[in-house]
């Protein structure tokens, strides 16, 4: 029975679909924390991305403009986060938490005031699914990889791009340096503040994209609290993945698999409550050292004040 389940392509297709909204914010968190700013605001930024994605998409009649608008809002809210944490040196966890609460409240409020209690309109343009000719015809692989939402493919591209950016460019080296030892970076002539803004804002846009995917890719509507804790699971995935893009993707795939499995096994005789716990149980397991030691960037979470 297990084998039969694993042989179902829809399980794996769902794994990818479910991994994407975790991988993107995990990638976002990686950027932020590599620059030395602990970011637990992914959850809130996802909500912002999801809501404004729908809003812009509906009013501009273009899902792509919706996506663009959402990225902009993601950048904006994370710029605010960066201003408070980097420029003013406030506690990053507390500010992150308040952004989460703020975003949940703001999006619920705007949903009701702008769209009323009936929810977002059905005619909101959605981001398309892509069918890749050639791949989609291959048996087994086709249904998994051949026809997914465009954001899923984008996510894969972004994982590779992020890896290249962080580990093979000068700017990536500088971002990592700032996250490890800002004082050393400062004396080497780097602009710590700007680099941290950059890390946080790239991270914000990636998290926002995760929200856009939920709203315009999967559901085509915005619902209150639709991120459903994915921002937090993404944080676990980032740690699980040792603050690397590929690691984050791997961890996100594992979480996506657990979610997909719980969807497919539903109604199969196992209590759905238990199955729905799977991804979260996995999160806890992941964080209790199952992954072995993973070391955070040395200056992660510590505000930098050049005058000590």
């Amino acid at each position: 029975m297990l084998w039969d389940t694993l042989a179902r392509p829809d399980l794996w297709a769902a794994t990818l679909a479910m991994a994407t909204p975790i991988a993107l914010p995990a990638l976002g968190g990686t950027f932020s924390e590599r620059s030395g700013v602990v970011n637990i605001a992914m959850e809130g930024i996802m909500l912002i991305g999801a809501f404004f994605g729908v809003l812009f998409s509906f009013y501009t009649h273009s899902a792509w403009l919706g996506l663009l608008g959402a990225l902009l809002m993601g950048a904006l809210i994370s710029a605010l986060f960066a201003y408070v944490t980097v420029s003013l040196g406030a506690d990053q966890v507390i500010v992150g938490m308040s952004i989460n609460i703020f975003a949940a409240g703001l999006t619920a409020f705007l949903l009701n005031t702008i769209f009323g209690y009936g929810g977002t309109p059905r005619e909101t343009p959605a981001l398309p699914n892509l069918t890749i000719p050639g791949i989609s015809d291959i048996p087994f692989v086709g249904p998994i990889l051949g026809s997914q939402n465009v954001v899923v493919y984008l996510m894969f591209f972004l994982v590779f791009a992020s890896h290249y950016f962080l580990f093979h460019t000068n700017l990536g080296l500088r971002i990592r340096a700032v996250g490890e030892n800002p004082q050393a970076a400062d004396t080497a002539g780097l602009n710590v503040r700007n680099l941290r803004y950059l890390g946080v804002m790239i991270g914000g846009m990636l998290s926002s994209l995760g929200g856009v995917y939920l709203a315009l890719g999967l559901l085509n509507s915005f619902e209150v609290n639709m991120s459903g804790g994915r921002g937090y699971i993404a944080m676990a995935a980032m740690i699980f993945g040792k603050w690397t893009p590929f690691g984050s993707l791997g961890a996100a795939l594992l979480f996506g698999f657990a979610t997909a499995l719980s969807m497919i096994l539903q109604g199969g005789g196992i209590s759905s409550n238990i199955i729905q716990m799977l991804p979260y149980a996995l999160t806890i397991l992941a964080l209790t050292g199952l992954v072995g030691r993973s070391t955070a960037p040395a200056a992660d979470g510590i505000p930098y004040n050049p005058n000590k």
Binding site: F167, H168, T169, N170, L171, G172, L173, R174, R176, A177, E180, N181, Q183, A184, A185, D186, T187, A188, G189, L190, P297, A298
Partner: protein, 506 residues
Amino acid sequence: MRTCLEVREITKSFPGVLANDHVNLTVREGEIHAILGENGAGKSTLVKIIYGLYKPDSGSIRLYDQELNFASPRQAIEAGIGMVHQHFMLIPALTVAENVVLGGEPGRIHYRRKENVEIVRQLAKQYHMELDPDAKVGDLTVGLQQRVEILKVFYRKAKLLILDEPTAMLTPQEVEELILVMERLRSQGVPIVFISHKLDEVQRISDRVTVMRAGKTVNTVETKSTTPQELANLMVGREVVLHVSKPPQKLGEPVLQLEDIVVSSGRNEKVKKVSFDVHRGEIFGLAGIDGNGQFELVEAITGLLPCKTGRIRLLGKDITSSSVQHRTNAGIAYIPQDRQLDGLVMDFELTENFVLRDFSKAPFARLGQMQVKPIEEYATRLSEDFDVRPRRIHAFAQNLSGGNQQKVILAREVSRNPELLIAAQPTRGLDVGAIQFIHNKLLELRSDGKAILLVSLELDEILALSDRIGVFYAGRLMGIFPSGQVTREQLGLLMTGVDLGSGGRL
């Protein structure tokens, strides 16, 4: 000789402190110029101004023909000033090459790994410094990390090299290598400014010395035409006794007896079967490079770490598994190496810090209540006996200078009339005056018939005070020598694990 750097009438004040008071300094091309002064004399402030980290209130700085007026280190770097900070500005998680090129990477977008490795390799060759550009900086020894710092400076084409307390963290052998490097640089015409509070070093390495005291430049002298005594007097502003005179020893019974002690910390065995005794009237010095297990041994004796095997006896009684409090009451006093972390509660007043060990006992407490009067009297007496300044018993520990903080700890520990005093790095980071004070106190205790275990990373301190010297390497005792029967160089070799054969071993 051309003048390379000229500092004229620099003044810089911080709230309540005049850190630099009309400071003058001239550095010539191709010389090694030492800036000598006690802690707080204003050396660091001066170089930080030169490096653009602080903005001076008045005065001017010239580098060759260029008037310097920096707003940030970036501009100083661009002008050709290179600085190696006392606390290295390196990123342990990155490689040597990455650390060197950081901030001035060649190319625009792509990080050119191979090219950078080659650049750093060439640079290392040019300045005769062996280094693997691909090694992770966190895996290197302190001496090698310093080379990375120096390479960083030359990668940026520095015309002037500033070394801030460069020997503070090095072993004697590493100091020798550093001196070689500095001499080669001088022969290549690179002017070097180096900051130090160690006389012998300045005497050995520098061509000229500028002495600073209380924010002022006292004098600049040719090193050859001066003596350590003269420099010390200039630095402190009064006659200084350079050499501690040790009264003859009155050796008594053993106070502390260690038998085959094994201590683990984390996964590793840090102390491997160590045995020795410390007697009444004796200062037993433990020498060794940081991280070789000596401080784990100290924590095992004080009860902060458990012994895996072995026995600790104090005055004949087995205390191997006694609690810290029991050991304290049995007569162990302890000066921890990190006074701010382990020695004092920084947010507490001096009164509270003085009675940290005894606050629950009479006369300081009655029926569970703190007795303010006796505590204040005790604190006042200790402050006076140990010359703690400022003489305000309600000052917070964090507002005292390092030397006075150390006096508070010493006063607290010694006034309990202990049998054994364990002093871990008792003079770390202190100035000459405070060091003198603490050394004299240790010698007084020795004359009073106390047993003293001195653990220090400073060989000079060990040599000056100890009656017997044990050398720690990789968790083992390399040997125990009566002082006077072993040279500095031999100790340096032993500290790096070179066995001298059985000669001299007791």
